[in-house]
Symmetry: D2
Subunit: 343 residues, 4 copies
């Protein structure tokens, strides 16, 4: 039996741990052969893949990124995409395909299975942890850990200079990284995309923090938006001549506004890519490894069109469709919970 | 309303995060006053406590250990213990008591509530993660992270010298730390207290690892026992003149046996206390903080004789008795799951 | 004998280690009393200081920032500045003043000593390591360590997406942080302020790196300037509406230019303040502690107008003037040395 | 021109950085070819080596250990050793040999050069930093960093339980790791091999620390010896049935004695191999890389019988003999310097 694997979308610590675990279990327990397709769906689309054996996954457990490379290629947007994919799978004698990725990658896998009967198993991957079908996705814990360490470091600078420090973390549509790292880092304000923030209220928290003679840390998700923010952010965007949203993103805007309104010096740190790189945390290696092992079990059971997921401490299987069902955003009550630390 | 807090048993990263969160929420949301008792049950037993306010919990979130101190004192083993405790609580006008600790500490709280009507709320704390009532306990993730980093480091030494490296981690009765850190660290053998190991089988895995010209890492929980091990370990213990079990514990014994049986050089590293010290991981700060917040909610609801616990991503309340109900050990199927990486 | 201390300029990991060491040695070996002035020269200027004892320096060794606070206040630019400083010193019965800071802070101390006979001892502090009088300054090793860890993390993202990653590190006038972190992080291009870079050459290195099918990391000091760069950077600055140079600094400009000229996707990470915050590295704690101890020896010897400095592994004393003598920039041959790793 | 390389003795973070730098510079600047001999002098002795090219050193900069393997083989103790080495070098057309190692490895290189005219260049490697010819050796900074982090962690456990924590670090003959990590970690007692310690004095420091109601950390080098210690340690050794000195080494002995004499609970942590494994610190990567580059310059200059060394911030060359000249131990005045922190 031959199993193909591919990784799609943004890179994420733990991808290699999934690949290694799947190959180790597939080869040792079931004598499977493996094909690794390059750069997500681009690989099968162009028939670019290579055999994967135990030697090729040696030592990759602690390494970030993905040895298979990644891309955002979507075969449904390519001329003749599906046919070309089916041809590659046939040419490579692929009996099952394990797709590791987020909404888009798994969305493709879901359709390939439901509409074209391709035997797919999905492994969820989103550093933003915004997938409703699973308690956690690997990469998230690593990102939160890196952001928290950065916040720890910024406290001392804030205190020494009595400055406001704004930390912009990842999270376009969901505030999980901001919520967890802000809570763990002892931030004084946490702003998430799920709830538009009132800049006046934010400045109130900042000022009250100074009153107790401590300097505030403001953690903001890149996707957070101020009330009546569309206008403001259009201006912010206008300032940017490279088209990098983060260039003058909400973090910069926030620091400038806070400075203007409170008269306190404010600085921004945009963590950016360091949140998604490097060695995975122990938790993410453990979760990714178990996802890889259970993906092979699903293949072995011929249980296709399914995705592995974490529920409590168990790995379960859910329909691939669930992966793209709905975004898991921060519930209002969870955000309320942390407001006790604001100001 | 006055709330007392105490921390008992071995120290654990996250204790201060619980204390801080409880005080912040209690004072800001409910105007509670707080008493911090020193050194677990020793404090109320001898009437040693002091007021806790927001200033006294400032900056302790990232700090390991406990600002309240800890001990293993058990009032039920002290002359007149319960009466003296009740007197202290009366003297200090305590309306509710939050006990943060493991089996023993919470066992006392459970009895004080059920037999003597003392309004107790429990917060579970065990670095070994061996509590059946909760998915995880804070401190565990930090310990696993430290052990995993140590294993990462030992790989390079093992490879460079083609040596067997035995890493003894914490876990008297449950192998969770060994299981998670061994899996995350890419260990070649993982031995846990739940299943007696066969030294011949272990040596087989070690030898097969060398055959693929890699050097093996053996992760062993301090409580792991070889088959026909009682005898062996009695001897091991006999070798130790200080009464520290770990001195010539299973790790040392294992390295010596592996060396004797395989002829390969073997070394032991006993991680010991570094696993339980230092700053908590982001995950543990998040979990401990939420436990502290929800303990206050329980107090506010007058919901005594309960313990906060983690279920999936929710904090729930369970009867205090459940804390001591039964040990959460590694289920056989979970151990089977990782055997694919052995050898 | 009473000794005053102050910390000026930007915060830097190790400041607290200097303070602690000076107080410990001063009190225990010589029975000195200590005054800690707030916020650099602002403190003595406004007579704001408080006694420092062994209890007040407890536990600060591993903490970043400075317990004395900091500022850029310059008494020579304040009306009547020097007289007010002398009054504070007299009022507080200060027999010696230890000034911990960079060019500006120590420049003031030098003048106060040479022109007004105030008994000053200096401790050099610059995270940029650009002081010719000493081999290293504390804070530098920590900054290099943080930048190197970030570069390590970015490698995996670069590889997975075959992207150019530009990392902007600190260094307005000297490229030491870029040189050391770029070398340690295995960067493929390192750009420093000391040598104007040729964007065409940079793109050549980037392209050649891709030819060997690896993705390049470009480390650039914030003060690096392209040939014919004045024009270019004026434009860059023009894009920034907050007046933060780093907002659309050389890092952003570089990524945009590389993308435009090579057609390869490029991203920028600006490390910013995380480089100067948080716990000092072991090396910096060791250096800062020894500086503190030797500053007290200088005071004890009545050897004023001097600054402590590192030469090899020895702590020596040099004239305070030397602190501000000339900037220690990266010598051409040291930059040549690392070019073997470019491309 | 063909250059051979080998690594001997205990592994040390930075070895791979030396190898990578030498190959990169040798190939790119001088078109050298490289031979990598396996396992120190064992390789040329048995003619086991393989070509090294730029691809073979890719990605090894941040990796601990050595890709060439290591051993303690000494050709002068092998029948016909020197002749066999010369034959291998001839067979492999080796024009120059770069030996990376400590006293033993470089001692062999020195004799092979002086007595047999073999063109050797040495690169010093000792994690203990006990080489008089160089300010620092790579690996030392990493070891100190790991030990310091461990001490940081142990503080919280010591405080929470008011226990004495004894940390045994590496250092058979020189106390550099104990001195630097003890200083950086804020230890209350530091014991080094250079000066026999008085157990009564140690207990005095421990007791005085408790009087100021803090718990003491005692850092002891594995080679530290009590006054009238021979006897005591013979007993200690006698307690050990595996012949591992560290099993009941000075750390365990010390904890037991302190417990017995002060009545305070004491625990030992033996850091062991984790001090020498894992990724090198930025400082060590920088130093090792520069050593590698300068070793090639020496080869290029035909300057054989020399060793590269660090002086201040410069890399210099010294006679290979100097490597083994005399042990660099901690000078009495340096030890005195830190005593202010004892107790």
């Amino acid at each position: 039996m031959r199993v193909a694997m591919l990784t799609g979308g943004g890179d994420c610590p733990g991808l290699n741990a999934v690949i290694r675990a799947a190959v180790r279990k597939g080869v040792q327990d079931h004598d499977y052969e493996f094909v690794g397709y390059r750069d997500g769906w681009y690989g099968p689309l162009h028939g670019i893949g290579h055999p994967l054996g135990i030697p090729s996954v040696r030592g990759i457990l602690p390494r970030g990124g993905t040895v298979l490379g990644s891309s955002r290629t979507n075969p449904f947007r390519e001329p003749d995409g599906v046919r070309r994919i089916k041809e590659s799978l046939a040419k490579d004698h692929v009996d099952a395909l394990i797709a590791i990725g987020g909404e888009d990658t798994l969305g493709v896998a879901a359709r390939l299975h439901s509409e074209y009967g391709i035997p797919c198993v999905g492994v969820p991957k989103t550093i933003d942890n915004d997938l409703s079908a699973t308690d956690y996705t690997f990469g998230f814990d690593t990102a939160v850990g890196i952001a928290t360490e950065a916040i720890d470091r910024l406290h001392t600078t804030a205190e020494s200079h009595m400055r406001v420090l704004v930390v912009e973390v990842m999270g376009r549509h969901a505030g999980w990284i901001a919520l967890h790292s802000g809570l763990a880092g002892g931030a004084n304000v946490i702003l998430i995309p799920e709830q538009r923030f009132d800049i006046t209220e934010v400045c109130g928290w900042v000022t009250s923090r100074f009153r107790s003679s401590y300097a505030p840390i403001v953690v903001v998700a890149e996707g957070a938006v101020p009330k009546d923010g569309d206008l403001v952010l259009k201006n912010a965007a206008a300032r940017d001549s490279f088209g990098h949203v983060r260039l003058s993103g909400v973090g910069e805007w926030l620091a400038a506004e806070i400075e203007r309104r409170t008269g306190k010096e404010a600085r921004t740190t945009v963590l950016g890519h360091i949140q998604r790189g490097g060695t995975p945390s122990a938790f993410d290696r453990w979760l990714a490894t178990r996802f890889g092992l259970h993906a092979i079990s699903a293949v072995h059971d011929g249980d296709f069109g399914r995705m592995v997921a974490l529920r409590g401490t168990d790995i379960v299987r859910v329909p691939l469709a669930a992966a793209t069902a709905r975004l898991k955003t921060v519930p209002p009550e969870r955000y309320e919970e942390v407001k006790v630390f604001f100001g």
